[in-house]
Amino acid sequence: MEITLNHYLVLSTILFAIGLVGVMRRKNLLMLFFATEILLNSVNIAFAAISHFYGDLTGQMFAFFVIAIAASEVAVGLGLLIVWHKRHGNIDLDTMSTMRG
């Protein structure tokens, strides 16, 4: 029962697929943000696993930068979401069609 790199990659892919399903079927923008977090975390698992099995630290470094980007994305995105909710009263994707050509 040896856990190999492929085990981690399969797990990462399953989580990525779950996140992608979330992005596709959610209408609420807050739920869409949650799905994005799942996507980023699944990629982090793959980075850490490859870093461990190849004895290389680059994967962990990339995971750190992914975490930093996720944190700033949440800060800016949630700010924009609050402004939108104050003005329009909901955060559904379908109502955001003011820029439709």
Partner: protein
């Protein structure tokens, strides 16, 4: 054996939690399940020997990001059920095929590239945190600083966007009132 048990246990828990996150119709359940899933993911980092990354995962995700979402959700109407999107069948099937191709590529890539070698190999005899520090402050110093500036920009953007006029609710005001507030603001800017 221990590693295998831990891996399968946490894999099951993580998948279950994230599945709840994307399928539940209650925003609060989704938030709680996501926070639990983040903590379970840090267990994988500890199993893989990336101790510092695991600690950062707990601190940043469960601490900072989840707290931010929890505070953000106080502004939204979270008691209402979340509506589902039943979108274009063509787009959904196209993305599904894309995911299937992605699975094949991800699984095949390490098998194809057997002669890969480490560019920043692990140092013997030091802990993971020390290794991370040595690589982060030599080879990755410039990206590290850029990430710091990016976080500063994000913080300022968050304050400017969310902190503006916290005391009055634009949703409860009529359009005329909103227009009046806007004109007053413009006058302030001009004067």
């Amino acid at each position: 054996m221990f590693e295998a048990v831990a891996f399968y246990l946490f894999a099951f828990l993580t998948i279950a939690m994230f599945f709840i996150t994307v399928t539940t119709s209650q925003a609060l359940y989704a938030l709680t399940a996501l926070a639990a899933g983040m903590i379970f993911i840090s267990a994988f980092f500890f199993i893989l020997g990336a101790d510092f990354l695991g600690a950062v995962q707990i601190v940043v995700y469960s601490g900072a990001v989840m707290a931010l979402y929890a505070f953000g959700m106080m502004f939204f109407d979270t008691t209402r059920d979340v509506k589902e999107k039943h979108g274009n069948k063509l787009i959904v099937s196209g993305l599904s095929i894309l995911v299937a191709v992605l699975v094949v590529v991800i699984i095949a890539a390490p098998i194809v590239s057997t002669n890969m070698s480490a560019s920043y190999p692990m140092t013997e005899g030091v802990g993971n945190t020390q290794e991370v520090g040595m690589v982060l402050f030599t080879k990755y110093l410039v990206p590290f600083e850029v990430a710091a500036v990016m976080l500063l920009v994000a913080m300022i953007a968050g304050i400017v966007l969310a902190g503006k006029k916290m005391d009055l609710s634009l949703t409860l005001m009529s359009d005329d009132d909103v227009r009046q507030v806007k004109e007053e603001e413009n006058k302030k800017v001009l004067s």
